[in-house]
Amino acid sequence: MTMIRDNQSAEPGTHALLIGVGDYPWLANGSKPEAERFSHPMKMGQLSSPPLSVDALANWLTDTNNGFNNPERPLRSLELLCSAATPFTWTPPGGAAIPIDRAERATAAKAIVDWKKRADRNPENIALLYFCGHGLAFSASQNSLLLGDFGSNGADPMVDAIAIDSLRLGLQRHCAARYQCLFIDACRNPPTTQFIDTFGDENAGAAVIAGGVKRTIGEKLAPVYFATGLASVAYGQPDQPSIFMQGLLKSFRGVASREAADHYAVIFEALAEGINKCVESLAFATVPQFCQAYEAGYPFALHRVRGDPEVIVKVLTKDEGLLPAAILSHTRQDTNEHIERPPQPAPWWVLLRLGKYAFKAVSAQGAALIGEASRDVAPPGGQVAL
């Protein structure tokens, strides 16, 4: 069973399909005997992040207190597919564990078609797809998502992959939902030359839903958020949700939000920048994994933030040489809540609630003031150089 929820409603809502592939039996270190494994694994092996990422997003989508919140388009249906080293189960809040089908060619194709049918119920629906697993990029507009049985067909491996760009165009052509939001949490490395010489480069996988020319294509808002730029890896830490998923969930708390009438809303246009800020804060890197979005330039609200949004602020000293010996602090002005960070060489990334803060940097030796500033922080946040 993979269907977690379907209230059968034809009212506007959100229909989500989450696919995670962590177990690739035919790739490096897979469960198949070595002699049966795929001859061109391209260094791709087993992943621990996808099941955790699917679990985290499913929890968020179904958490009515702290998770997904879209009164105009509430969650109407949720389906999961996930391949993990041990059979994957998902436990809803207060419920019993539900066994989840593996994400392989047949199950994924059926799940996508079923999900599209649910999204067809109302043109005002949001169709939300998340994929986490291995990916290949034959080119900027030819990206492949590899399913759990990838490599089982040694003569034509791409039959066990989804051509996500073709699927996206097919959805725009055939799916009635006006809002189609895709999160692709996979590497975008090119296949090796040996792979292309052996199998060719025309087949990026199955479209599942193939698209043709139709005027209504232009009427859909169909942003796609790739976890990483072209020719780059998407990163997962052992036994943690992927970096992209951690950034995505963090950005939903407000970093990717903008002002609405009486609340803050996470909107398509602000999401990629919000994810990037959050990912940068997670990785301690000045050159982070980079979320690349296409056709995301619309202020359409995906999620309503409860209460004041959290924003992300990077605190550092103007003279980077002083940072390793500086005590950084921020004080919220209405509550006087004061947080300090001891001297460290890296900038300090802090997630703060909307409001006024006083920031200060003092030298650890002698407590001399290095710099101070006051900021009334707002989404997505910013940088405070002291």
């Binding site: 507009s141 480069d201 294509i217 890896v233 246009e269």
Partner: protein
């Protein structure tokens, strides 16, 4: 950015200690009302770096001010206007410092990465001991993150060291500017072309042999600027596609880059429309994959080629277009619309404007559409050798048809005509144009399959699709003007 408030207005200023933009805008400020006033339309305006504070009249209330930067970064601060006689001054955000003053503009546009250094990698180890002092939000698996971050920095820095070096740049980087013409009547080839032939098909054969040597005008160990010595004399022909200029560059790791060289560029800003802007190439070391598996053998660092023009407003707009910042791009377009579409000073810049309008205009918006749709049609017909104009034309048709009243279904043969025309015009000036071109070809091929069509046009579509697929594999990600990376194969 410094913000000071007085009842009824705020003052905006964007400051940088290494770069001023004279009278040209390099950012866009966005002012949004908060709370009960949030339904008011937001105000957007282009902002000049290091100009005197700009006064913006506002009704009393709470606002969020966002400064959108062309690198994709957005900085934000809340401000209250006129609340109970308040007249306070807030210090906001500065432009991030460039690693080198001579690269300030390129850093602002996002062409230069701020790279890691070995000291940072080693120093990060200190994080391991402080887990208890970090807020709960950041505490999760801190040790694991830090270990990975150290590994990433170390491998990235080692790779940087291997591919860069001041001596290496000055002695082993060379480039040439080549001129060519693209024949729009050449046949669409069957099958997969070898890299060199593919590049020739898209760019035309050079008419000046090896080309004019490029001069390294400035460099350090990880960056170099190259330009054509003297004045390029072909002017307008080079930005309408009648003639094309390309730069062939070999980097210190012996890899080739073949880039659109935007010679002949003229500014489209309101303050200096029609004045020539110099073109150059920035070669810079980047880290493509900062977070890596330990067993990865390939270099994390590599040289990237980014063509640029000394036209701050055009580069700023391209930054917004590529980073998908719709409202900022729209503000820049509003300022330049007349110059872009009516004066035809710079058809490539006009095509960039067209892509912004097509990408960021919501499907339901109708009021502004009629005039710019006609501009895009004119751009395509007035400049019959400009690939980008034809791609915009095809995209316009796919989204809105021919603009006839009522529900208009698309004629697949009309779309095919526009798309094949675009392919035959050669390599797009803007790399942004390649993805929509590829998507439209994918749609056409799928539609032909669905309807089992046959014939020469269908065959040409299939061939064009293959040519674009092959091209896409060479296109360097992230550059505004198209750059092809051909590896060790000299183009």
């Amino acid at each position: 950015m410094k913000i000071s408030t007085e009842p009824g207005r705020i003052f905006l200023q964007l400051v940088s200690d290494s770069w001023g933009t004279g009278n040209e805008a390099a950012a866009v400020a966005e002012i949004t009302a908060r709370g009960t006033s949030a339904s008011k339309p937001k105000i957007t305006m282009p902002i000049v770096v290091n100009n005197p504070p700009l006064a913006v009249p506002l009704d009393p209330g709470d606002y969020t001010v966002r400064m959108c930067l062309p690198s994709g970064d957005v900085l934000a601060e809340s401000v209250t206007v006129g609340g109970e006689g308040e007249n306070e001054e807030h210090v906001g955000f500065d432009l991030a410092r460039s690693p080198h003053e001579w690269l300030s503009s390129d850093t602002a546009f996002g062409a230069v990465q701020r790279l890691p250094n070995a000291a940072r990698a080693k120093a990060l180890e200190a994080w391991r001991g402080i887990e208890g002092s970090i807020t709960s939000i950041e505490k999760t698996n801190l040790a694991g993150r830090v270990t990975q971050a150290i590994s990433d920095y170390s491998s990235g820095f080692a790779s940087l060291e291997r591919v860069s070096g001041r001596e290496r740049v000055s002695s082993s980087m060379s480039g040439w500017c080549r001129y060519s013409k693209v024949d729009p009547k050449r046949p669409l080839p069957e099958g997969r072309l070898p890299t060199k032939e593919l590049v020739r098909w898209w760019t035309g054969a050079p008419s000046n042999g090896q080309g004019v040597p490029l001069e390294i005008t400035n460099h350090d160990d990880r960056n170099a600027k190259l330009s054509v010595p003297g004045v390029v004399d072909m002017g307008f022909d080079l930005i309408v596609g009648r003639r094309r200029a390309f730069a062939a560059v070999i980097d210190p790791t012996k890899r080739w880059h073949y880039a659109v060289f935007p010679a002949g560029w003229v500014r489209t800003s309101r303050n200096s429309p029609g004045t020539p802007a110099q073109a150059d190439l920035l070669m810079t070391v980047v880290i493509e994959s900062v977070m890596r598996a330990s067993e990865e053998a390939e270099e994390a660092a590599r040289w990237r080629c980014s063509p640029a023009v000394s036209d701050v407003e055009a580069m700023t707009y391209l930054g917004f277009l590529y980073s998908g910042q719709a409202s900022a791009a729209e503000a820049m377009l509003d300022q330049a619309a007349e110059i872009l579409f009516e004066k035809t000073l710079n058809p490539v810049a006009a095509a960039a404007g067209a892509f912004g309008l097509l990408a960021f205009t919501p499907p339901e918006s109708g009021s502004r559409r009629a005039s710019w749709q006609q501009w895009i049609r004119n751009l395509c017909t007035m400049f019959p050798q400009l690939p980008d104009g034809a791609i915009a034309r095809a995209q316009l048709y796919l989204r809105f048809g021919e603009g006839k009243p009522g529900i208009e279904e698309l004629d697949v043969e009309i779309l095919r005509g526009y798309v094949l025309d675009a392919v035959r015009r050669g390599l797009p000036y803007l790399s942004y144009a390649i993805r929509p071109l590829s998507e439209m070809l994918l749609l056409l091929v799928s539609d032909d399959q669905e309807h089992k069509r046959k014939g020469p046009q269908v065959e040409d579509t299939r061939r064009a699709r293959r040519l674009v697929q092959q091209l896409e594999r060479l296109v360097a990600p992230g550059a505004f003007f198209t750059v092809l990376e051909t590896g060790e194969i000299a183009p």
